[in-house]
């Protein structure tokens, strides 16, 4: 077996962004997995609805709109600093700047986590009260896990940006983190619509 050299790739770069980067695909596939899990929880929510005469069940208040609306709006706002941090990362701007915007996202994330505790109380049911309690808590707690993971990961990338050594692949990581963050916020909008809004109509 003899080999004939027909291409030379030494001049190619060794990092890239978005769909050209394998890590972006790994992130996207993970979003598919988690999205599928959320979709199934939503299906289970509506399936359980059919076992009750009233919804929420008897002697259960409607979930509080106040706290949950604040949380949704906060999370939607948090998309802005994340988007901006990703834009800076695409443009290879200095890492401290990127890090600062990421820390702002972390602050929003922590706020959302704290508000989640109030949202759980605002469900006016316990996970062991009945099936309604179980499924609403499962949805909120699973999403809380994503909020925590997302905030901690963003914090980690921000720390790398401040402390260094920063490699160009960390800029890719920032942009990929942004996609994950959009998923965390986007999935919450959908889940919020199910748990806090649609409950009033079905």
């Amino acid at each position: 077996m003899r080999r004939r050299a027909v291409l030379d790739v030494a001049i190619l770069d060794d990092h890239s962004f978005s769909y050209r980067a394998p890590i972006w695909w790994g992130n996207l596939l993970m979003i598919f997995i988690e999205g599928a899990a959320f979709a199934l929880m939503v299906v289970a929510y509506y399936y359980i609805r059919r076992n009750f005469n009233t919804w929420p069940p008897e002697r259960t208040y409607l979930p509080d709109m106040g706290v949950s609306s604040v949380n949704v709006i906060l999370q939607l706002i948090s998309v802005a600093p994340m988007w901006y941090a990703a834009k800076l990362a695409f443009a290879h701007e200095p890492p401290e700047e990127v890090g600062r915007w990421l820390m702002l996202v972390v602050a929003f994330g922590i706020a959302a986590i704290i508000l989640r505790a109030f949202e759980l109380r605002g469900l006016h049911t316990r996970y062991d009260s009945n099936a309604y309690g179980s499924i609403t808590w499962m949805i909120l707690i699973t999403h809380l896990a994503h909020l925590i993971a997302g905030s901690l990961e963003t914090l980690l990338i921000a720390l790398v940006m401040f402390k260094g050594p920063v490699e160009r692949k960390h800029y890719t990581d920032t942009t990929v983190m942004a996609v994950y963050w959009y998923f965390v916020v986007g999935s919450w909008v959908a889940l919020w619509l199910v748990v806090f809004v649609s409950v009033r109509f079905i």
Partner: protein, 653 residues
């Protein structure tokens, strides 16, 4: 950022580019061998991130579980060989058939199909490792952890006993108290993480790391099969993640997902489980279809006929596979109109399978068959799978299924499709790829014994079960009365199991013996067309000396004889590979693979360990989360080294 326009393409130069000199090859070989050398000893074994080492471990572990599952099956057959047998009592029997199903489905079938993919896909697409080498290692350790958890529990009489499908309320806290089903649910967590990791690896590797020139329409059918399967895993496994979590919380912290007294629903479990469970069997089956294609093309020396039809068939099977799950629930009170839809869908899935079968038959007709053991296993696949497929279409009919559901007719059906449709192609794959893995040829004589013992044993064991089901014998019974008249056929079925065990022994002897006395294989003993045969047997740790350039669908048949077009320019001082575009595999950038590290094992031990502890105490979840965060922080923390990509200059403050 500089793409193909900067690279010299063949058409630009008047004469073909030069052959790489032997000196240059030796130099590159020496450098790559040094860079990619796997560490030796126990530490090397525990820290390896080489996809071939990990995949070999995966396959061997899966085969050990196959043997354990087979032993469990042997015990089932011994107990059922006579009416009112007292070989095993009901409690142990219920654990054993649950272990048999869980082992075969979660610890053997899906892992082995993924593992064969994890070994072959990087070789077949012409890259040096999977996209995320450390994640790959984590996947194996999680899988091993899940298997050990399950079997450790079984050996201390805490094995699950509510069936591999764990229907509630039987598997719930009230009717199966204790830790048995909690351990089952956590085993699911381990194995499902491993399966999802494998799927992410395969998709990312195939999308972004194919050899230049391997456009979408030049991807080998086996690789297509693995990619399609991986997408199925991504969308199907979350269903059992969600349902097993619901079962665990029902059992451990008193949630009410499946408790009818508090608005929960026993049918919710069935819907969620089977939404996973039906695609699961296609997850097992589709890689086998890829293996059949590889074997058919190799041993008829013809490319498989109808390449686009073959791919569309596998894709249709994957999509349709998500629309069949209710056919496991025909005996439940679901509306009849809805059930008819699932009859139609369950029958329709025979069409893509039919397309593939006819394309293979056409390929064989046009080719020159060689009756190696591998090819015989594929012929056996046809004989057996078609029986299973036909009984499958029969039970797609609601009225028919209402009679044979939960009887031995169903047991016969799914063993024909799983053993005949997945395990026989897998064995065909073993006989095809063993020379590549080990550099030695398996004995054809022992191989023929392996095949015939397996084929005869399968039929003697499982064909009578069709009749037993029609005679009224339900499933999952630890004994039966003598006056039912089932004794004769049960004895026959148990007798057949002896042949299957014997065939397994012959296989193990063949594999072990051939390691030392098998004929040396060389690079491509079968004159097969795909890229894994372009490198040595066994492949070096860096897979290919130079990344190949592909000019057709059958790279080694389309290339000039004795020659291979390759890519130069990748670094030999670090683990480097090539990232190419999705559609046409045009080179985009160079990519660094991560080297060996102990972190995946640590994450599996601590993260996985806390999942196991969570069965006994909710603190397991909290502690696990903390450990996971710490280890993941180490995982992603930057380390400056000569290998790293150019560090970013920090602006002076």
């Amino acid at each position: 950022m500089a793409y193909s326009q900067a690279l010299p393409m063949r058409e630009d130069t008047p004469e073909p580019p030069p052959l790489i000199t032997v000196d240059v090859e030796n130099d590159v070989r020496a450098k790559l061998t040094a860079t990619w050398r796997e560490k030796s000893g126990l530490w090397g074994w525990l820290t390896s991130t080489n996809h071939k080492s990990i995949a070999k471990r995966y396959v061997i572990t899966a085969l050990i579980f196959f043997a354990l599952g087979g032993l469990e099956a042997g015990m089932i057959r011994m107990q059922l060989s006579r009416p009112e047998n007292r070989f095993i009592g009901p409690d142990l029997y219920n654990q054993i058939f649950t272990m048999h199903g869980s082992t075969m489905m979660f610890l053997f079938a899906v892992p082995v199909m993924e593992a064969v993919g994890l070994y072959l896909v990087p070789l077949m697409v012409g890259t040096r490792n999977v996209a995320f080498p450390r994640l790959n290692a984590l996947g194996y350790w999680m899988y091993l952890g899940g298997g050990i958890l399950l079997y450790a529990a079984f050996f201390v009489n805490t094995g699950p006993d509510a069936g591999w499908f764990a229907y509630v309320p039987l598997s719930g806290p009230q009717y199966t108290p204790g830790k048995r089903m909690d351990i089952w649910a956590q085993m699911i967590t381990f194995t499902e993480i491993a399966a999802l990791i494998g799927a992410v690896e395969i998709i990312t590797t195939v999308f972004k790391q194919r050899a230049p020139g391997m456009s979408l329409n030049r991807i080998p059918l086996f690789v297509w099969a693995e990619v399609i399967t991986s997408f199925m895993i991504i969308f199907a496994l979350p269903a059992i993640v969600v349902s097993s979590t619901m079962l665990a919380t029902d059992r451990l912290i008193d949630t009410h997902f499946f408790n009818p007294a508090e608005g929960g629903d026993a049918l919710l479990w069935q819907h969620l489980f089977w939404f996973f469970g039906h695609p699961e069997v296609y997850i097992i089956f589709i890689p086998a279809l890829g293996m059949v294609s590889s074997v058919v093309e190799t041993f008829t020396q013809r490319r498989v006929f109808g390449y686009p039809a073959m791919i569309l068939s596998m894709v249709s099977t994957a999509f349709l596979g998500f629309g069949l799950w209710v056919h496991h629930m025909f005996a439940t009170p679901l509306p009849q109109l809805g059930q008819s839809f699932f009859t139609a869908a369950s029958s329709a899935i025979s069409i893509p399978s039919g397309v593939q079968i006819f394309c293979w038959i056409a390929t064989i007709w046009s080719g020159r068959p060689r009756f190696t053991t591998s090819f015989m296993f594929v012929l056996g696949f046809f004989f057996l799978f078609i029986i299973g497929g036909l009984t499958g279409v029969m039970i797609a009919s609601v009225p028919y299924d209402l009679q044979v559901h939960d009887t031995f007719f169903i047991v016969a059906h799914f063993h024909y499709v799983l053993l005949g449709g997945a395990v026989f192609p897998l064995w065909a794959g073993f006989y095809l790829w063993y020379p590549k893995l080990t550099g030695r040829m398996l004995s054809e004589r022992l191989g023929k014994w392996n095949f015939w013992l397996f084929f005869i044993g399968m039929n003697v064991t499982f064909f009578p079960m069709h009749i037993l089901g029609l005679m009224g014998m339900p499933r999952r019974v630890y004994t039966y009365l003598p006056e039912m008249g089932w004794g004769g056929l049960n004895a026959l079925a148990s007798f057949g199991a002896v042949f299957i065990v014997a065939s397994g022994v012959v296989f193990v002897v063949n594999v072990l013996r051939s390691l030392s006395v098998g004929a040396p294989a060389g690079d491509n003993p079968w004159n097969a067309p795909t890229l894994e045969w372009a490198t040595s047997s066994p492949p070096p740790s860096y897979n290919h000396l130079f990344i190949p350039v592909v000019e057709g669908r059958d790279p080694l048949w389309d290339a000039a004889p004795g020659e291979l077009s390759v890519v130069t320019g990748l670094r030999t001082d670090r683990h480097e590979g090539l990232v190419t575009s999705i559609m046409d595999a045009i080179p985009e950038r160079r990519y660094e693979f991560k080297k060996e590290t102990i972190l995946p094992l640590l994450l599996a031990v601590f993260g996985g360990g806390s999942i196991a502890i969570a069965v006994f105490s909710p603190w397991g979840v909290t502690i696990g989360a903390i450990f996971t965060f710490i280890i993941l922080a180490c995982w992603f923390w930057p380390t400056i080294s000569p290998d790293s990509d150019t560090p970013v200059a920090r602006r002076p403050s």
